[in-house]
Amino acid sequence: MVHFFSHGDSLAFYVLALIILLSAMLFLQFRKVIYMALAMGAIFVGCAALFLLLGAVFVGIAQVMIYAGAITILMMFAIMLTNHEATESVSAFGIRKGLAALGAFLLAVILLFTIRATHWRQSLVVNTDTQHNVDKIGFMLFRQYTIPFELVSLLLLAALVGAVWIARQTKEEKQD
């Protein structure tokens, strides 16, 4: 374990992992919904930094733009448009919370043991060239994955129209 810390990139990874997990803990600790949204923004930015560290430049930038930018702002809007004073109940530990914590903890233990027990073959030489990464992803998206790409654009259109349709004010609600 010691020699992992001797390299700059693995040290950076452990610091990033610590920041991400701390933000996640803060997310669980906060009572006010708006603070939770802010902590979630911090987690998303941390994930983006992790992608950049791993050399996945395109996905990292997309993560910043979509998750840290769009989704966090959308979250803020949703909180402001609904009950923005909302807080989580202070009640210590109900049966539901206890069961949820137990289930999540058991899943975490199983997953961590499985990861530890498996022998992972790892490639030590990684292509971290930005130009190569972006070029290759572009070629893959428009040559090999053209049909899924178009289908995703259709899905986005349907989701946009559907979201506007669902959130609109109906006539009977206006009369109230």
Binding site: F4, D9, S10, F13, A17, L21, F27, L28, V33, M36, A37, I43, F44, F51, L53, L54, A56, V59, Q63, I66, Y67, I71, F77, A78, L81, T82, A86, E88, S89, A100, G103, A104, F105, L107, A108, L111, L112, I115, W120, S123, L124, V125, V126, N127, T128, D129, N133, I137, M140, V152, L155, L156, L160, G162, A163, V164, I166, A167, Q169, E173
Partner: protein
């Protein structure tokens, strides 16, 4: 081409812990918005796995990153529709708590 010393199991462990935190948040939080956002956290931790395997796996190639782009897009579509449903529910019931979403009557 550079040498990377980040151990793959550590990245997978980080993603697993984040997934479980998201699962706990989705199951235990009361606000509907926070439940949706916890789902996003779970999807994001899966993305970490995809990118980690695509860069550090035994046979590195960019397929994992293309898949994670699709996941990000679908997650964005999901959160948009989800928040629209929460807004409609709030106007209907004057509350955004998961506890109040237990019947279709007004």
């Amino acid at each position: 081409m550079t040498t990377v010393h980040i151990p793959l199991p550590s990245v997978l462990a980080l993603a697993a812990i984040l997934f479980c935190i998201g699962l706990y948040g989705a199951l235990s939080k009361r606000s509907l918005i926070i439940v949706l956002v916890s789902l996003e956290l779970m999807l994001s931790s899966v993305n970490i796995n995809l990118v980690a395997f695509s860069q550090l796996g035994a046979f590195p190639n960019l397929r994992g990153q293309v898949f994670s782009l699709f996941t990000i897009t679908v997650a964005a579509a999901e959160i948009a529709v989800g928040f629209a449903i929460v807004l409609a529910f709030f106007r209907f019931r004057k509350s955004a708590d998961a506890d109040d979403a237990n019947s279709q009557k007004r």
